[in-house]
Amino acid sequence: MFEATRLNRKNETRQKLFRLGLGAMTGLLILPVVLILSTLIYKGAPVISFEFLFTGPTKGMTAGGIFPALLGTVLLVMVALIASVPLGIAAAIYLSEYASDNWFTRAINLAIINLAGVPSIVHALFGVGAFVIFFKFGTSILAASLTLAIMTLPVVIVATRESLQAVPMAFREACWNMGATRWQTIRRVVLPNAVTGILTGVILEVSRTAGETAPIMFTGAAFFLPLLPQGVFDQTMALSLHLFVVSTQVPGMPENLPFGVALVLISMVLLMNSLSIALRMYLRGKKKW
């Protein structure tokens, strides 16, 4: 009935070309990273063993394992979470449930964007100036974790706010009509419906915190320590900094060892992110409204 005109065909060809071109760009963006990750696995996997994960470095870090660094990262993340999760959730509850759309809320939002956008090394300088020197925590797990907590606070705030706002207004209104106070509504209706979403944000924060290096370099992480930390006022080793140290600071390093460290770090981070994504997809599948 309709004969394709020359213009139709031209447009059709052009469309196909663009589609192909954009597809190729997507491939070119992803492919190098896949190749890089394969190289990491290829060179790093032989290094990883039970001993590698659970013993300390020996011979000036050119042999042995990464246990103190692994443990240090876990400690740093835990202390950072204790500080930032309650604060981030409180901030998100305020922004989602109480704040009205005015200049003040806009200022808070701008501050959150900036907290996420300020260079990590500036956060490090802040950590040195505030926690190490002013509050006299010294270079310690506490100082490093607080620096990390402030840096990753936006991750928790944004994820929590999003999942709170996903709870339909009607739920709250129904609860208010029963005579419940605002807090009772939040506590009994809003939060239970948002808890999985908040959890995805917390997991993302774990991943971000574990990977950061610059903020902990001068606030609490050390290149090498013979002993494990005994408390939050001790320094600690950390996996991310350990990767920097073994790949740049130690002469005579066997070629594969840094690859092993890099592989452990990246596996940890990607595992956390995958977990968060899986949880999000599960939540989407279960959504009741």
């Binding site: 052009r14 663009f18 597809g23 807090w183 009772q184």
Partner: protein, 311 residues
């Protein structure tokens, strides 16, 4: 959320308020979450105050505006006369960020368009998850990749003595920034209402014509915001540029020159300085400069994106 609708029902006489335990808990929580809400503002101000406090001595002492911004000589530990010029460091940061954006802008926008407009179902889901995972790779791992994988490749391919240079760091930073820019750009494209597309398609436009003539103009501000945030990210990146640039003070004349970035200088030198020395304070002054520049970039990006919502 626009919470004008979430106000507790008005028009009820205040005498209905029961001043019992629940009421007091409610008020207490309101104050607590308000404190949480303003914490971000407090921290941003705190960051500025504390880095300014540490850098203050330099700013009123050795600081010389002309030397600081226009001298390429960063010799903070020189025996005769220390000079604190960050021009070469700015050039290093700018060259690496510039090259990174040259790579990341076309690729991330192209990928965002492909994901948002040309793919669907499982492919789309797969690509989105991949991009999200790529964005999560820590910067120290990228730095290590530059050092251990890109370095030998560049030496072999281009037959140059050192592979840690603008090219290496630019590519690394480009690959690093691209996934983040892709996600933001894709969000901007997704924010364009479907009825725009349907209207154009009903007029007989092909998919590409719809994208080019309708979707891209409508998403323009969001895409610009994505690019700006990418620039901010590149500008402030620390570990990757510390490890992949070669870290030598240079105003680069080709992509094979090693350079040194502002952020990397702080990371490399802060550990070796005595607290309170001019060198230490000068590093904090660089920090103030970094803070102000990224603040402006983020502010502009926010205003640009907000403009699209109002329009």
């Amino acid at each position: 959320m626009d919470n004008s609708s979430s106000k507790v029902p008005t028009g009820i006489d205040a005498s209905f308020d029961q001043l019992n335990r629940d009421w007091y808990i409610d008020k207490a929580v309101q104050i607590l979450v308000f404190l949480g809400g303003i914490s971000a503002v407090v921290f941003i101000i705190g960051i500025f105050v504390f880095i300014s406090k540490e850098g203050f001595g330099f700013l009123i002492g050795e600081f010389n505006f002309k030397e600081f911004f226009f001298s390429p000589n960063w010799r903070p530990t020189s025996e005769n006369k220390e000079t604190f010029g960050i021009l070469a460091l700015i050039a290093g940061t700018a060259s690496v960020t510039g090259l990174a954006m040259l790579i990341a802008i076309p690729f991330s926008l192209g990928t965002a368009i492909f994901i948002a407009e040309f793919s669907s179902g499982k492919t789309r889901e797969f690509l989105k998850i991949t991009v999200e995972l790529l964005a999560a790779i820590p910067s120290v791992v990228w730095g290590f990749i530059g050092l251990a994988i890109m370095n030998p490749i560049i030496i072999k391919t281009f037959d140059v003595p050192v592979g840690l240079n603008v090219l290496n760091a630019g590519v690394i930073l480009g690959l690093m920034a691209a996934p983040i820019m892709t996600s933001i750009a894709e969000d901007a494209l997704k924010a364009v209402p479907d009825r725009y597309r349907e209207a154009a398609e009903a007029m007989g436009a092909t998919r590409w014509q719809v994208i080019y003539k309708v979707v891209l103009p409508a998403a323009k501000n969001g895409l610009l915001g994505a690019v700006l945030l990418g620039v901010g990210r590149g500008f402030g990146e620390t570990m990757a540029v510390l490890m992949a640039t070669g870290h030598s003070i240079n105003i680069p004349t080709s992509v094979f020159d090693s350079v040194r970035a502002l952020t990397a200088t702080i990371a490399a030198e802060l550990g070796e300085t005595a607290a309170g020395s001019p060198h230490y304070q000068a590093l904090f002054t660089i920090g103030i400069f970094l803070f102000i520049v990224t603040f402006i970039i983020n502010l502009v990006a926010d205003l640009v994106v907000r403009g699209v919502r109002k329009g």
